[in-house]
Subunit: 310 residues, 2 copies
């Protein structure tokens, strides 16, 4: 008689995750609409011809948010793309299901940081073998003009999301985030980090799903107070120009390195939903660097270098 | 007694190619300065710590050109990066030299198309084996508001560059260009094409080098008359907004697909020189499409679909 493995999936695993993700998308959009106080999300449902589909929600030209996209997707297919399984080449080509919520928020005011969050669940299946499954995700913050107390609040929230599942998790996922959101060709962090995890199934489905939920639920607790605190700071053309310039880094990271973006494009996801993470207005200037001892140079000296914020 | 193989390289192959490329860079920059009639190129020489270096020339905020970058580089290293040898995996890891001129020109006036050209020479070496070498390059045109006669002139010039080397070359390189500059995730061409070739050593060094020179020399003959013809057309906020939006496609192509960009970043080239191909001002708008029967929709219906322009 076979014993029940801790790695077994409950029969309704996909249903459970899907319900959680749709609810999370709903709650985050509600919070963002309240924060914005002006615009509403519009919703587009889409079907992926090869299997699955999604629900994209976008708020554009709000009072606070220049562009906020909160995507739900559930896709499946016959062959797992390389970007999903690059650390486990033995899984490439398996049939798969992937469910996730992914969001990127680009505020109008350069004193309010851009933020990103993602939670996802993968199952890779093969006839005659038990399914391989894992969770992944995290959230990270990308300020233009940094505030130390905001970074501390962000990382305290990240730690609070992880601590119920073991005190070693926050430092582990924090380091992973610092390594993942690193723009190699610039030798520069994308922002001040947060959490990143992948290939996670520790303790079995309930435990791992619980951790993913905790991280998803803590995103708004981390972000909303920062938006409230910074949304009314005055700014002018100089700060907007710096914001547009720095958003170029966001584009570079997402199109060159980001696993979610590449997975989406490689798996023939809906392009407009995948690329809604790109900022609305961006500038590139050849060999531009901030003058030393300016508010702009502080980002490079005091915020982007990787450090322990707690 | 061994016979001389047609694939042998002359002892001064690198010197010959380098002299040609530096002269080409000089001539193109001169022509662009004359066309612009306002700004001059600035020059940055750079050294690559792992071997080689380059000379970047950039003209920014000119009367005609918002940003024009014309790069020369000569890099060498111990292990050929994957992006350079993706169609010849047997060469990956060889020691290599790469010389090239690469340029991208982003005009201010949306009625003047963006253009790109590149010519390059690779040698991949391994102890005890003859060196493997090849030329590559081409040029292509990316209009925002298309003109049929400009596309015809561009392709006639491309054909004139190739015809002395065989009449099958233009259609071959034209098709290759259409396939290469295709934005898969948009199912859309980047522009109206031109020429693209790679891994080219037909007929031996002199013949292949001659073809590369002909293509390099024809770039300005193709582009300058189009700039002259369109530079004085009136435009307003609508045309600028469409130009910024369409430039987003250029960014997507260069950062996701372009072999030269990926080769540069993977071989630890100078980031500011590699990414000077990116447009100065760019916008992304979620799920934006031009209204039917507008000047903007004509780009999609009459210019981007791949066709024979001659």
């Amino acid at each position: 008689m076979p014993t029940t493995s801790i790695m077994n999936l409950p029969d309704d695993a996909v249903t459970q995750v899907k319900e959680y993700l749709l609810d999370l998308q709903h709650r985050i959009c509600q919070s963002l609409e309240q924060l914005d106080g002006g615009s509403q999300f519009i919703e587009d449902s889409w079907i992926r011809p090869q299997g699955g589909g999604g629900k994209s929600r976008v708020l554009a030209k709000g009072k606070i948010f220049a562009k906020a996209g909160v995507n739900f997707s559930h896709v499946f297919g016959n062959a797992l793309p390389g970007s999903a399984s690059q650390h486990r080449p033995e899984l490439a080509g398996r049939s798969f299901q992937a469910l996730g919520v992914s969001l990127v928020i680009h505020p109008e005011n350069p004193y309010v940081p851009t933020s990103h969050a993602n939670v996802r669940f993968f199952i890779a299946e093969k006839d005659g073998e038990p399914p391989v499954w894992w969770f992944g995700g995290g959230f990270d913050l990308t300020p233009y003009y940094g505030f130390k107390e905001d970074c501390q609040h962000w990382h305290q929230t990240a730690k609070a999301a992880c601590d119920p599942f073991g005190e070693s998790i926050y430092p582990h996922f924090k380091d992973w985030c610092d390594r993942y959101f690193f723009i190699k060709h610039r030798q520069e962090a994308r922002g001040v980090g947060g959490l990143f995890f992948d290939d996670y199934n520790e303790g079995g489905f309930e435990q791992a799903f619980g951790l993913m939920q905790s991280i998803g639920n803590h995103f708004i607790k981390g972000y909303a107070p920062i938006v409230e605190k910074r949304k009314s700071i005055d700014y002018g053309a100089r700060e907007k120009a710096f914001q547009r310039y720095r958003r170029g880094r966001y584009v570079e990271f997402n199109l060159i390195y980001d696993r979610g973006t590449l997975f989406g494009l490689q798996s023939d996801g809906r392009t407009e939903s995948i690329l809604m993470s790109l900022p609305p207005e961006v500038e590139w200037h050849y060999n531009w660097h901030p003058e030393p001892n300016t508010p702009e140079s502080l980002l490079y000296t005091d915020f982007l270098p990787i450090r322990n914020w707690l």
